[in-house]
Amino acid sequence: MNLRESLRISWRSIRAHKLRSALTTLGVIIGIAAVITFMVLGGGFSEDIVGDIEAEQEPAMTVQTQTTPEDGFGVMLVETPIYTESDVDALEQREGVEYVAPQGSLDVVQAESGGEQLTGVVDAQATTADRFEHATFVDGGPFDGADEAVVNEQAGQAFEGNVSVGDELELTFEDGETTTVTVTGVVESELGEQTPPQVFVPADEHYTTTVETPDGDEERAYPTLQIGAEGLDDVDPVQETAVDYLEEESHAAELKGDDDEIAVQTVEDAIEQFDDLVGQLTVFIGAVAGIALVVGSIGIANIMIVSVTERTREIGIMKAVGATKRDIMQLFLVESVVLGVIGAVVGVAAGLGFGYLGVWLLGWPMVYPLEWVAIAVAVGTGVGVVSGLYPAWRGARVDPIEALRHE
């Protein structure tokens, strides 16, 4: 029996029970639509955050401390200042290292410019001028003196008056003290629009956080370092050296928490890590949605078994006019595969639709998860085959003599 004929006969029987067939495929439709929707949302989220990060290759890497949250997954940044001045100096001596720029936040609560005050919005970071070695300035350049500062674009735009080079900025610390700095440059944010408004001031003059080193001294320490390599070719060896040093010899290795890990990452590494995380999360949610698919396939199997029982007489007729067991199996399998494929196609369409609506509402870019669409169609077909196998086998086993007597 050729496939076209079985398709024709199966299609007749699917259409003869329109409502039942529709309800049967609904399980598969919901399952696949849910998976595709989450994939679109996950992809959109990732694209939204990572998409406008300038993944320009630059010979710089960031040193941060990360930990895995106790309940949950992914990574969390640890803001403990563990990288001491000695560590910074030691790293700077290593081969291939051009500079090491420490960075630590200041507890600035308010920023004022031209009579306009912003409270709790602006993030103030203390660092060194080296930090801007590979940064792109929209205007001006790095700070040079104690009373100078660099702002990022977001900080500039945070003020209605648009803070620019030459403007004065008054920062108020948590303890009530204030300092006035002059903006020397507006820098582009590497992490794109997601970056909060930031003001960078020289660490030497403004950073005061200290820790007791393992040697018993009191030293300034930072939660983050930026290491610049001499050239692109030095990035990998420098990364290796830095990791070795920081993990084995540094103060940081002693000061860090037991569960904390020192991460030395280039921008690309960070993007990759983030992508991995979103990917894991998306697959996790997708797997939950996949449960609907299992339910859907049970639905198909259930209906196919009913269908086999209902059509016992028809099976008898077909066997009487020459259908082999294989023919009968093929008929029922084709029917359940058709149901599965219809479910997959409609589910993909619905999933893309819901996903599109979702990213549109959230303002994320639309991503077409093509590989998941392919997987969905394959899974739909597979669901059809798997859920049709047992009913088809039962149908094929029907005794024609009994079946023809069946009313």
């Binding site: 029996m1 007749r12 003869a16 009487a320 082999t324 067991k325 023919d327």
Partner: protein
């Protein structure tokens, strides 16, 4: 055990000492040592009260069942020696079934129902549609090709079933109480059609419990308790009836032939 020969020339179906036993509370020989030969182009009726083994014999000859003892040959193939798939193939190519309850596929049109045996028989690919159409025209349903069974009368349904039975040019048409669900007038139409098909060359085995229906055949095999009780040859009478009909006679073609049993 006497071999009953119902036909001249080569045999379409032969049964040799066939026994079929059902293992119920105690073994029941539904068919017990039946030997029979149906000649090509013959028209044979099997009669008998219920429980006499008619259905079992039909299932055996129709390759739906296999004998426990003895041998059945259909179109030169020994049914008992075939695999399940081979018997299915044999049913499709050598046997055409006509049932009391028509047994048409409810959701397929008349043409599609007639095509069905050809669909399962991969050999005939080319002109299934054309052949199905011409078969339906032959049974007088040229204007009902696209109707589903539910849109047809009982007589029309049985005509579709007849056309379907002929789809693969079978060695044997097996008609099991083909007029059991029809009124007298339609019964006559269907039986005339069977006679017509027989005269055009089809071998027909008719199972019935009605004497009047059986008399359309050339031979009548009387079954009782799974054994052949007697065999009647009615061929001679047929010409007479045909002449009567030509002279304006109606109803059954035969009034003679009874009492031979």
């Amino acid at each position: 055990m006497v071999a009953h020969d119902t036909g001249p020339g080569a045999a379409a179906v032969t049964a040799e000492s066939v026994r079929r036993t059902y293992h119920l509370a105690e073994p029941v020989h539904a068919i017990d040592g039946v030997s029979l030969s149906l000649g090509k182009g013959s028209f044979t009726a099997v009669m008998g009260p219920s429980g006499s083994g008619k259905s079992t014999l039909m299932n055996l000859v129709g390759c739906l069942d296999t004998p426990d003892e003895g041998r059945i040959e259909v179109g030169g193939h020994s049914v008992g020696e075939l695999s399940d798939a081979e018997r299915a193939r044999l049913r499709g190519t050598e046997i055409g079934f006509v049932f009391q309850t028509f047994n048409l596929m409810p959701r397929l049109t008349a043409v599609e129902n007639v095509r069905l045996p050809m669909v399962f028989h991969d050999g005939v690919e080319a002109d299934r549609q054309e052949r199905a159409r011409s078969l339906l025209e032959r049974v007088g349903l040229g204007d009902r090709l696209e109707h589903e069974p539910s849109e047809l009368s009982g007589g029309q349904r049985q005509r579709v079933a007849l056309a379907r039975a002929l789809a693969n040019e079978p060695t044997l048409v097996l008609a099991d109480e083909p007029t059991g669900n029809l009124d007298t007038e339609t019964e006559a139409e269907i039986m005339e059609l069977l006679v017509e098909l027989n005269e055009a060359g089809a071998t027909i085995l008719l199972v019935t419990h009605e004497r009047a229906v059986a008399e359309y055949a050339d031979h009548v095999v009387n079954l009782l308790d799974g054994e052949i009780e007697s065999l009647e040859h009615l061929s001679d009478a047929r010409d007479v009836t045909a002449r009567e009909q030509a002279a304006g006679g109606a109803g059954n073609r035969r009034s003679t032939g009874e009492g031979e049993a």
